[in-house]
Symmetry: C2
Subunit: 180 residues, 2 copies
């Protein structure tokens, strides 16, 4: 079982790269974060990145995955609050990574990897909230309501809404679900 040259497992090194890539993707966006910059931030040459990741999209997905895991983990801390508060929390959590959200939507047509991540993301988001819907609805209706909520939240994240407008939107969404 050959270990890494520097007493470091491959996974650990991958994680380091993901950390460096993460802050660059978030601050500079997908195009602004070149493989060269990411490599420099990780103390490597650009080529080395391709040992750990097949291409830029695979690295991006690794970054997105880490954020998604973090999000799902942190959601447990607010899972008991009313839906409106959970929505506000979700928007606030995602807004710092709005560049990632926009990138996913922009590249979903070009990159199969990102397309796959995208549908997985939506699946997990729906799972987060679907059992909190106490009212009985037809499956079609349920999907429509879930889509409205999901898309409205994505919109709130990627567009410029101030705190008040965000809260209004989230409460409107929750009230809507309650009033069915």
């Amino acid at each position: 079982m050959p270990r890494n040259r520097n007493d470091q497992t491959k996974e650990a090194k991958r994680d380091e790269i993901v950390t460096a890539a993460s802050s660059l993707f978030v601050s500079e966006g997908y195009d602004g974060a070149s493989m060269g910059k990411i490599a420099a931030a990780a103390g490597l040459t650009p080529n080395t990145l391709y040992w750990y990741f097949g291409d830029k999209d695979e690295l991006f997905v690794a970054v997105a995955d880490r954020y998604l895991d973090l999000l799902l983990e942190q959601h447990t801390t607010v899972a008991e609050q009313p839906l409106a508060e959970q929505f506000v929390w979700l928007v606030d959590s995602l807004r710092p990574v709005r560049h990632l959200v926009a990138t996913v939507h922009a590249r979903v047509a070009r990159s199969p990897r990102i397309a796959e991540w995208h549908s997985s993301f939506h699946r997990q988001m729906e799972a987060l909230f679907e059992d909190q819907l106490t009212i009985e609805l037809s499956a079609a209706r349920r999907n429509a309501e879930a889509a409205v909520v999901t898309f409205a939240i994505e919109g709130a994240v990627t567009h410029d809404l101030d705190a008040d407008a965000t809260a209004d939107l989230c409460h409107s969404l929750a009230q809507r679900l309650a009033g069915l």
Copy 2:
């Protein structure tokens, strides 16, 4: 008043370029539609594009503007129909240009030109529907409802929903507005 070399006004030539760029942006997306391809499609060298447009984003905005004008013009033909039908119409109209929508959101942070177009787009979309809201609401509440509708429609455009799901979503949005 010196005319164009080929008996063609500058505006006319710009329009030809926008036409060529338009179909390429729609079919290949922003990254896929290189200035070289666009120039070739218009029967020009890439450099010539830069005589008519300052940069790629300016050309993109010209394309987006044309679609927006078309959309606003065609909306008059459905303006008398119930809101739900207008929403369905809007989603169906925008879905073919979903790449443009995604591009706008992805580049809004990098290009001031596109950022400006983006806010103008949302302003005009809201104007389309705001006077159809017969119920009295506070300004804040009104904005929240408008945001939900706008974002839900954008989401329906950029995500894969079949015709039934689209109709369900649009009717749900309209029903909610009616039931306030």
